[in-house]
Symmetry: C2
Subunit: 358 residues, 2 copies
């Protein structure tokens, strides 16, 4: 299966990957891994493909605090030591951290060497590895440094998901849900009917979800318009993610926070654009089914608002820019709900605690 | 005067620059300078344009040893402190070091903010600022890290040349001579007839020379073919530049080394492709007229060859890849003259010491 010439999967994917490896073997192949993918994913890759015997394996740490220019510099140094040339190939084998940092290192080494992504988490398969955003954090500000650079190809192999913990899968599932909601009733319906992340997370559905993002990205590569719709759920979601990182010993994963963000921002969409109340109900029930209800400390509103404002470079709350949804399949962007409505949406989620929304 | 929508000059240039400054004033303007251009060029820029009162001036050191990722990081940090946003503008005011480093910093900040170049050396006007190569050195390997990124516009103002020492002007003159040789008999003829770098280095001729490079770059942005012809004179020239840096307390400037490289590589071109002996003579006389003859230590051949091989990533001497010239206006590339012919060409230059070639 091959979507738009650049995402490959399944048997065709392994065969295309094998071709690429043999094509670049002579000019040098460099595999970027983290300590987890070195142990859990690299053996499978090497078992499936020939021609990687002489590839240089470069390891980085799988921690957001290592998403820095210093890590990139270490990768560059190893490319120099390994005599990488302009026509060498980097294979980024890992989650979003590896594909973001590796993509940036490759795109800036000798003004750009070839790279491909083999995402090993569901989140990276449907999101991070698609769309050419690469980069690192600066002073803990996320993705402050980077370039837009497209991998030569992205390979989605469900084999790698077998080693992934359920929570990690659910984290990717939330982004798939977002893609479905901004794409079409048909795709959203599938989530409702299947009502199981295990059933949703097969190769066909993952590819379909990745291609929703790819299509949007292709129509607006540098995010001047439509691409912003991919931020649906993320203004509130990011704030909740930061909030949880501050207060919880075992904080929410990205997608777990985004799932809550989807509910809040669908609520805002209902108030601002008449997003269907019944769809909000279907979404809330779906999220409640898959994710445990998150319990904030008392009165989290002001702190969450402050986090949103900080995330948008110290905007005032009236300047907070949202990507919302008029109805399933009809995203809108550059919308400003304002403080009151944002707080109401948080209370709406908090009050869901008692159970399903009927 | 406006060549291909992106190089501006003269009155039209100042007026276009003023427009751009007013367009970006609101979203933030950042002027990158070095200690020299801060003193000698920034006052003129500020006197000529309004709207720069609140621009943040960022200073870097004008030394090749500062062409590192650490310098880029300092620029990023100042952009953060100065609240630069995606739609901010960086003005790179300086020589090739400032345009290379500044272009890279801008192209990688928030995945790319706008930047323009105002080159202040002749070399940067006709070469470094044109063509979108940006980057820094890594472990002293030149331009190992970087991206291709085009400035929004390049402004060539001869006012800035007034403060430039003659040797610096001659350094740029050598690159102009190279452009003329790979472009056309007509352009080369102009150098012969004028026979004075002062007469050659006016705004019209500088623009014409910059546009030779721009046209080539436009037809082969990522240097897979024709763009290589811009390397004419540079395989030998770079080796001589390194040689001089090693042995001389006041080493050759880039263009001074390239002028010698042009002679040697024209000699090789004569032997390999029948490049006209009379043109070689005209070139050698022109170079002898403008540049003092450079005196190597005895038997420099082996060391220069070793430097060439190192420059091309430890290639063997038979693998040394040259961009040459079949006749004036007809460049060729991916040519391999081999050790013997390279050494002969060096001896040819060394023997020119006695005076003009008649």
């Amino acid at each position: 299966m091959n979507i738009s010439n650049s995402i490959y999967s399944g048997v065709v994917g392994w065969s295309r990957l094998q071709e690429i490896i043999l094509e670049y073997k002579k000019s040098g192949i460099y595999i970027l891994v983290d300590e987890n993918t070195r142990e859990l994913c690299l053996p499978l890759l090497k078992a499936k493909c020939t021609g990687l015997e002489e590839a240089l394996v470069i390891e980085m740490h799988s921690n957001e605090s290592n998403k820095t220019i210093a890590s990139v510099e270490k990768i560059w140094q190893q490319l120099v030591v390994g005599n990488a040339v302009r026509n060498s190939l980097m294979i980024c084998l890992g989650g979003g951290l590896v594909t973001d940092v590796g993509g940036f290192a490759a795109a800036t080494f000798k003004r750009g060497i070839n790279f491909i992504h083999i995402p090993t988490t569901l989140l990276a398969m449907v999101d991070a590895s698609i769309g050419g955003k690469t980069g690192v954090n600066l002073n803990s500000i996320k993705n402050q440094i980077g370039v837009f650079a497209l991998p030569k190809a992205v390979f989605i192999f469900e084999e790698f998901l077998k080693t992934l913990p359920t929570r990690q899968k659910l984290s990717g599932y939330a982004e798939m849900l977002k893609h479905a909601m901004i794409h079409s009733e048909e795709l959203f319906e599938k989530f409702i009917i299947l009502n199981s992340h295990e059933k949703v997370c097969n190769e066909v559905n993952i590819l379909e979800s990745a291609s929703v993002k790819l299509d949007i990205v292709n129509s607006d590569f540098t995010e001047t318009g439509l691409r912003k719709s991919l931020n649906f759920g993320h203004t509130v979601g990011h704030a909740i993610e930061s909030y949880s990182q501050k207060y919880d010993s075992d904080p929410l994963l990205h997608g777990e926070a985004i799932a809550i963000g989807l509910i809040c921002e669908s609520f805002i969409s209902m108030r601002m654009f008449g997003f269907d109340k019944n769809d909000l109900k279907r979404l809330a029930n779906l999220v409640s089914w898959h994710f445990p209800h998150y319990r904030f400390k008392p009165k989290p509103g002001d702190e969450l608002l402050a986090l949103m404002c900080h995330d948008k470079k110290n905007a005032s709350s009236s300047q907070l820019n949202f990507s919302l949804i008029r109805k399933i399949g009809e995203p809108v962007f550059d919308k400003f709900p304002g403080e009151k409505l944002i707080l109401e949406s948080l209370h709406f989620y908090i009050n869901l605690e008692v159970g399903f929304f009927v």
